[in-house]
Structure formats: C-alpha cells, structure tokens
Amino acid sequence: MKRYSVFAIAREALRYHQGWERAWASPEPKSSYDVVIVGAGGHGLATAYYLGKNFGITNVAVIEKGWLGGGNTGRNTTIIRSNYLQDPSAAIYEKARSLYETLSQDLNYNVMFSPRGLLMLAQTHHEVRGYLRTVHANTLQGVSTEWIEPAKVKELVPIINIDGPRYPVLGALYQARGGTARHDAVAWGYARACSAMGMHIIQKCEVTGVRSEGGNVTGVETTRGFIGAKKLGIVVAGHSGQVADMAGFRLPVEAVALQALVSEPIKPCMDVVVMANTVHGYMSQSDKGEMVIGGGTDGFNNFTQRGSFQHIEETLRALIETFPMISRLKMLRQWGGIVDMTGDRSPIISKTPLGNCFINCGWGTGGFKAIPGSGWAMAELMAKGQSPLAADFGLERFREGRFIDESVAAGVAH
C-alpha cells in the first residue's frame, strides 16, 4: 500500500495523477481462512482490521453480498457521541469516540472526523431531569458532557428558536467532543488498511448457509462456493436474523426501516449537531452545505430499505418549529436503511450457541459512532474468547434479565 501524504499528492500532480493505485484488492476467494467475517459494513471491516492490528491475525476474509459500505454504514447520518446512560454503553461508545479522534492517522485515510460539538435538546421537564441524570452518570464514567442553559444553546445555535410555544428549549445535554465523520471514508479506510495487511475483501458474494460439524462452525456456503473458516463472525446488521437462522439459532432482533434526508446545499449556518429527541428529529450541516436530517423508525418489520412517508413529515414538521429558517429549504434526497433493533436498544457482541461462531449486531439506529470500539471489542472476543468491553453485551443477558437499557436515554434514532 502506497501511503497517502502531501508528498504523494505533489508527486502525482507532476505525472497527471497516473500513479494512484486501487485502494483495496478484489481477490478470488481462497478455499479457507482462519477467520471469515460476514458483512463488509463498518463493524465487519473494523473487526477484521483490529484482528490484524491488535492480534496479528491476517488470514481473514470479509464477505459482502453487495458492495462494501453499501448497508447502513453508507446510509447513516454520521452522528458520533458517547453520552449514554449505562456504564457498559459509555465504555464502548467512549472507546469508539476516542479511537475516532486519531482514526485518520491510524488508517492513513481521511475519515473527516469533525468533533464539532453535539447538543441533545431538552424540550420537556422530563427530559431536563433525564439529561441532568445523564450528565451525572457521564461524570462518574469519565465521559466529558455538560448541561447547558437555553441562552448557551442559542449562542451555539443562532438559527434555533428557543421559545417556541409547543417545543420550548429548556436546555441541552452538550458533548463538546461529539460530532460527525465521513461514513463512506470510515468503511473505505478500514477496507484499504485490511487489504494492505493481506486480508481478502470479497464483494458481490452472498452467504447462503453456514456449515458446521460436531457443534463447531466449519465454513460458509456462498454464491461463489464453499469457503472454509476456523472462526466465523456474523456482522450483518439488518439481516442478522437471516444469517443466525442459517447458523441454527434465534435472535432477539427485529428489522425495521429508518430514514434520513438531505436538503439542497446552503451557506454555513450551523456548526454543531443538534438532536431533538422529544420531537424525533435531528440535524447537522454537511461540509457540502446540505442540512442532514434524520428522524424516527417505523414501527413494523421491513426489509425494503423504504420507509413510511408520514415519518418524514412528522420529523420536518417538528424541526421547522425549532428551526424556522429551514421551512423553505428544498429536500434533495431521501433514503432508508434496515436497522436491527433489540429489546433494550443495546447491541449484541457475543459468542453464539454454535462453536467458534460469533455475532455482532443490534446496533439499530445508532451504530455508526460505535464502529471503531465495536470492531476492537469483537476482534478481542474472536481472538481471545473474551473481551472486557463486550462482556456485558452477550446474548445471555436477555435470559438473565441483565438489560442495558438505553431506550430511555436515547429515545430517538441517531
């Protein structure tokens, strides 16, 4: 892999940019690997990367039915934060957020991490109490957040209407080092680094079955033939239930559609991320100037990557009251992703009933922010059989009643 640098740009500028090589290779699959990861989204690629980087395991294939990053990783609104309520969540999301701080340098790929600051508006008295509790919890967890008053909100977000009749802004939970990153670049950066370590990223190859012998996984059936695996990691988000079914176990996961939309590009008007959980809407401005807007999920199972129109309407109706200046913006694009929701709204990073088969799923509406931390934990779990970061996220927590309840702390999709 040729490193990207200012010298590389200068060198290529002198030779008409003829020397740039492909960012990752597209090899033919081998007959078997030490580790096979199903799903080349951010979580699958990050798992492969940390298997190589932290544990020296590089005989790895990442198998993807479509194109890498084409699932939720390439469809999300890129919010990064770690102001969660429960200790296990704070630990893994803060690990991820802190890895994002240096990810561009680590991967030698600009993921455009922008810790521009993130506000979660409190628009009801319940939310005020809830966020004050979160600030206290975060203080104990070593996650830097603070409670800010409406005047400070207005200072940070001049375009906001803080005294709307229906949704007054009563304050906000503020994480100064929260922000956004470029979603595609996160997938591409990890893919390039994996490829450089000699790993195989095999696109347009769907896993259609899981083979096992004596209770242990032996490999996967794919549309390009059987591929043997000593260890298997299932990291397929919305299709987790389907692949788990192939491996012979059930999951406490349901797939629903989550949508987002962007406006036409406008001049810079908001340099922070604002989430308004009561009204199920959030907004940030991309580097191109588009307002990036997201809302809530649909309430029914859906695999079509197409959501219900009224959710967009509800989101925009509420956001327009909080940000009156967006009322005449034209919306450019709208899309949906299939997110994997668990009962307690926390992810699963776990061993499974099938030996040497591991699963990482249930990130639902909020897993982009977690990609580096999740990959770190999943790699450790797969390499060593246990990981402190993943310990509380096991499948058995549902049977044992040890939920990591984030449905109150994070009432909205993000």
Partner: protein
C-alpha cells in the same frame, strides 16, 4: 403507504390510522415456565424476510386489535383477520401459498 382493512369495522385504514403491535400468535409463558420458554416469549422473534403475521390496532378508528399477514420484503398485504384467532385462517394460508409457492407455511 401501507393500507390494512380492519376486520371489525371494515374500514380500509391507512398507516397513520393504525398502530403496529409486533409479532402475532406469540404463546405466552409465565411463572413456572422454563427460562428458555420465558426468554423466547419475551424476546426471540421470527423477524422473517417474507411472509409475516402481525398484530395491529385500529388506533384512530374503532380502537380494536386485529391480525394481519404481510410480506416484509415487498410490503404486500395478504389479508387481515380477527385478534381472537389462535392461528391464521386456512383460506388466508391458501391465498398466501398460491402467491408464494416457495413459502414454507405457517409454523
């Protein structure tokens, strides 16, 4: 937009009039059940990519719960039936089988 016909009042209701209520025909397990059964009842869901049986409520209509058969991969609705049914009616199953020959059937 999703439209379902309420089997009670006969209204062809569109999505905003309805509240989704999750998987239908769950068998309830309570005190005395094994941990597996209780966990399965509370958390494990079929979540199929294809034919699915669900609970819905005609929230902004007659207010009653009913059941529906729907394809989660195409959003096609096969039919609705009363909430008192312990399993999908035979004519509905036959209708789905005719439309989805590869479907493994209700289990």
């Amino acid at each position: 937009m999703l439209t379902l016909t309420c089997p009670y009042c006969g209204v062809k209701a569109e999505e905003t009039e309805l509240a989704p209520g999750g998987e239908a025909h769950l068998k309830r397990f309570g005190p005395g059940a094994t941990d597996e059964d209780f966990e399965g009842y509370l958390f494990a869901r079929k979540n199929p990519k294809g034919v699915h049986f669900e609970r819905w409520r005609h929230a902004y209509g007659c207010g009653k719960w009913f059941l529906a058969a729907r394809d989660t991969a195409t959003l096609e609705v096969f039919g609705t039936y009363p909430a008192q049914s312990t399993e999908p009616p035979a004519d509905l199953i036959a209708k789905i089988k005719a439309k989805r020959p590869g479907w493994e059937g209700y289990k």
